[in-house]
Symmetry: C2
Subunit: 208 residues, 2 copies
């Protein structure tokens, strides 16, 4: 349903992100190499799946040696685009928006440029170094700074209007925390959803 570059499937890409995260931890711990077997064990996968995943990008292991942590980390940084940050804006500074503000954007390939909220009472409030801007100024901001992505932390009822406006302003991708299905409204947009309610319902189901 949703497109991706290079013909690599989304589950493989999601595992690349996990691999990268784990490599960062390994590096912090001082490890210099890791076998595909140890890698797989740590992440609940099989060694052949790990090798196959890296194979989608040409494969990075050394036969009988495994992977050099530092090398593989750099390869994944390149694949994921982590050292070439895209700019993003955050729309909606409620509880969730505020929590999201404290993420390490640089570590995941983004730079948070500005934060918007429609509540006039919050205007010019400073949260974690970001001055909250009125939503009414978002058009000017986008025309001037051309952000690549918008983080949507507003109530579902407002998303149709806001996503349509942002798309017309040139923002073609969304990190969507609302329950509104942006990718149905805007099939050309690149949308990554975090549906917390769906996640909890899935967990509830699994509890029996």
């Amino acid at each position: 349903m949703q497109g991706n570059k290079d013909g690599v499937s989304m589950p493989v890409i999601r595992r690349m992100a996990r691999y990268y995260r784990y490599l960062c931890e390994l590096e912090k711990g001082g490890a210099q190499r890791i076998s595909s077997g140890a890698f797989a064990n740590k992440l609940g996968l099989t060694a052949s799946q790990v090798r196959q995943d890296f194979g989608c990008f040409g494969g990075f292991g050394h036969k009988g040696y495994g992977y050099v942590v530092d090398e593989l980390k750099k390869e994944l940084q390149g694949i994921l685009g982590i050292k070439a940050p895209k700019s993003c804006i955050l729309v909606g500074a409620g509880n969730l928006g505020k929590a999201i503000l404290s993420m390490n954007y640089e570590g995941v390939g983004f730079k948070l440029s500005a934060v918007f909220d429609s509540n006039p009472k919050l205007e010019n409030t400073i949260i974690k170094g970001y001055t909250l801007r009125p939503y009414s100024s978002i058009g000017d901001f986008c025309q001037k700074h051309r952000p690549d992505m918008a983080i949507i932390c507003i109530p579902s009822a407002s998303v149709e209007k806001v996503a349509t406006e942002l798309f017309q302003l040139g923002i073609k991708s969304f990190w969507n925390f609302s329950h509104y299905d942006i990718s149905v409204l805007l099939p050309q947009a690149i949308v990554e959803n975090v549906h917390l309610n769906d996640s909890m319902m899935t967990l509830r189901y699994r509890l029996g």
Copy 2:
């Protein structure tokens, strides 16, 4: 990799949660019935996938009529366990924990019983009606109230210790916001992960 009841695959379960969410919206809007085609369109799926998904649970449609919104909603409530809430606790009342506090737990089949934090300065603070409890009291609480699930909003470095303790205290399922892979540490546990960094890295990759 991860178990589920009834032999139904996890993607189907995740779609059940989406269907349910959408049915709630339909009901609010006053709709009384919906065809599998309209359902599918709204969610970016095909009609046959929708029918096949419901088929996993016996199928609920009426040939040539579609689905009765109210009936289907009740069926999905039953499947997902939404009207039989399980009790949960939240561990870690930082920004993310606070944001998670304001979720509508009842609407997704849970009841939030207590909130814990290890910061002594926060002890007895009241946030959205919940009195923060010291982490040191979690053993007594679990023995007395037997919560079913723990929401993990603490730094990754503390998760191994905390998850192990909670598992020994009888909590067998986790909604995990940390980057620590609890399901590798505790293969018997039921774990639903929300990995925000992985989600952002996936989005970054797709931006090219």
